[in-house]
């Protein structure tokens, strides 16, 4: 049974959005290390890995009408896991910024396994937390770096009666 968005009904859409985001944002070496062994040589491709372009839109003034800013490279794929490795009923989907076919395959494999209650425990239980922690630590580092550059400018007002006044 599928919801209208092709997510199985037992999966909370928000939860799936959450892990798809983390899998796309994750460093590739972390995914390779944790998920590499779960991919086999013969995944069943519903959509083979494909590199393409997505036109990024902005909004005029940040909040106004849309306009087209420019494109980004994106890699996508959809698969069922290699039955020689793991049997999983669900279809995994990945859309990842950039041109890493391997990143897309690893992310789609994890997406499939996470949707199926029988395979979910094949994903290391703390993987998503570790991805989030890795991103958080990058974010915290930047916050600390820019905090040191926060500036208070003083307005230098001319004192009344200054002798060099015109």
């Amino acid at each position: 049974m599928l919801q209208d968005d092709c997510t199985p009904t037992h999966i909370d859409r928000t939860a799936r959005q959450g892990w798809l985001r983390l899998l796309s944002h994750a460093p590739l070496d972390l995914l390779e290390c944790e998920l590499g062994a779960l991919t086999g040589p013969h995944p069943q491709w519903l959509r083979r890995p494909e590199i393409g372009l997505v036109m990024v839109q902005g909004r005029i003034g940040g909040t106004g009408a849309r306009f087209n800013l420019g494109e980004v490279t994106v890699t996508r794929c959809a698969l069922r896991t290699d039955p020689g490795r793991i049997t999983c009923r669900e279809v995994g989907v990945a859309y990842v910024l950039g041109r890493s076919v391997r990143h897309a395959e690893l992310a789609a494999t994890a997406d499939a396994l996470l949707q199926d209650p029988l395979t979910r425990d094949r994903i290391p239980s703390n993987l998503l937390d570790r991805i989030a922690a890795s991103l958080d630590s990058e974010h915290a580092k930047r916050r600390a770096q820019i905090r040191a550059t926060r500036v208070e400018f003083f307005t230098v007002a001319r004192e009344s009666g200054a002798t060099d006044a015109p």
Binding site: D4, G52, Q57, N68, G70, Y95, L97, F153
Partner: protein, 360 residues
């Protein structure tokens, strides 16, 4: 009319081999890696992505290496590459209000939620050559201070509670904007089409036009309401899923310029806005873009059009470095037949002139 030439294959091949050898330079010196270019020449990479209209730092760095550092040639390479890829769709519009900042300053409001953040900037450097870089001295890590995550909303909307600054909101139905990669520019152009053109326009051209508006060649009295640079998440709605997912982050620079506006019969005096948005850390480009965006709004605001930066067809038709560079540089290609026919023409005119001058 241009008459084509053929032949020269061997010389062209050899020329390209010579180019490759000169590009590599002395083989006893280490070769530049793409990673080095991407990380150590990031502002050049950002410009190539912005004007190449394709965000992919690795490919932009490769283009810069292949072009021996010629930005416009590298932009050409990136634009050519993009034509080889399928279009998968459009993103959800970026939410620059949720930017994870590297930098954010306002020249109009001193006290902002989140503060004025200089971030990494050349603004206050003294422009003295740093001979430590010549010597390759290790760089100490920059200072850090403890900081909590705090939202940094766009200042214009936040601080203009009197409504003195024009508001920007999506029109009814949030219509799909013109896409110059699909349909050619038409005049008069929508503001969305103008911004797409300006976003990928040559920085030098836009900078000069923006400068001209400050020097009096348009009715412009700009203030930098906010300039911000940082990372934003890209979201799209995959056709397989039907809901939005975040697929990664890209860096952008945004400029909100505020300009005086005297008002019209239907509108009271207020500040109007110009907008700039560019890939990567591209402040000069984003600021110049916002000045030109504002100047090009002259007809909408009922302003007299008497300066180049206000002339939509002039600005938008000459802003693209690919078209400009291609047309200027094609003059180097053989024009032997054209020139021969012009020579003939001039000879005939001279003979006729001499015959007419002779007394009969």
């Amino acid at each position: 009319m241009y008459v084509a030439v053929k032949g020269g294959e061997r010389a062209i091949e050899n020329s390209q081999a010579l180019l490759a050898e000169l590009r590599r330079g002395d083989p006893s010196v280490a070769e530049l890696s793409i990673e080095q270019i991407r990380l150590q020449l990031r502002l050049a990479v950002d410009r190539i992505m912005t004007e190449g209209s394709l965000y992919d730092p690795e490919l932009a760095a490769l283009a810069l290496k292949q072009a021996s550092g010629d930005a416009i040639e590298a932009i050409f390479l990136l634009r050519a590459y993009r034509t080889t890829l399928p279009r998968l769709g459009y993103s959800v519009p970026l939410d620059t209000g949720k930017m994870r900042l590297w930098r954010r300053v306002s020249a109009t409001f001193k006290d902002l939620p989140g503060g004025q953040i200089l971030g990494p900037t050349y603004d206050y450097t003294q422009r003295l050559l740093d001979f430590a870089l010549l010597a390759g001295t290790p760089v100490p890590p920059a200072p850090r201070l403890p900081a909590d995550a705090e939202p940094v909303p766009a200042v214009l909307d936040l601080l203009d509670q009197e409504g003195l600054i024009e508001a920007e909101s999506a029109s009814c139905g949030d219509p799909e904007p013109h896409d110059l990669t699909r349909e050619p520019m038409r005049f008069p152009a929508s503001r969305a089409a103008r911004l797409q053109n300006l976003a990928r326009a040559d920085e030098g051209f836009i900078l000069a036009l923006g400068y001209s508006t400050q020097r009096g060649y348009a009715h412009s009295h700009p203030f930098a309401g906010e300039v911000r640079f940082g990372s934003v998440e890209v979201e799209l709605v995959p056709e397989e899923l039907g809901f939005a997912v975040s697929i990664g982050e890209l860096e952008v620079t945004e400029c909100q310029m505020i300009n005086q506006f005297a008002g019209s019969k239907s509108q009271p005096p207020q500040f109007t806005r110009g907008y700039g948005l560019a890939f990567g850390h591209s402040e000069r480009k984003a600021m110049a873009m916002s000045l030109v965006d504002r100047a090009l709004r002259a007809p909408e605001l009922g302003e007299a059009i008497d300066s180049p930066a206000q002339m939509e067809e002039f600005v938008l038709s000459h802003s693209d470095s690919l078209e400009a560079s291609g047309f200027v540089q094609h003059l180097k290609l053989p024009h032997y037949v054209d020139f021969q026919s012009e020579l003939e023409l001039v000879r005939r005119l001279r003979i006729n002139a001499v015959q007419q001058d002779e007394p009969t």
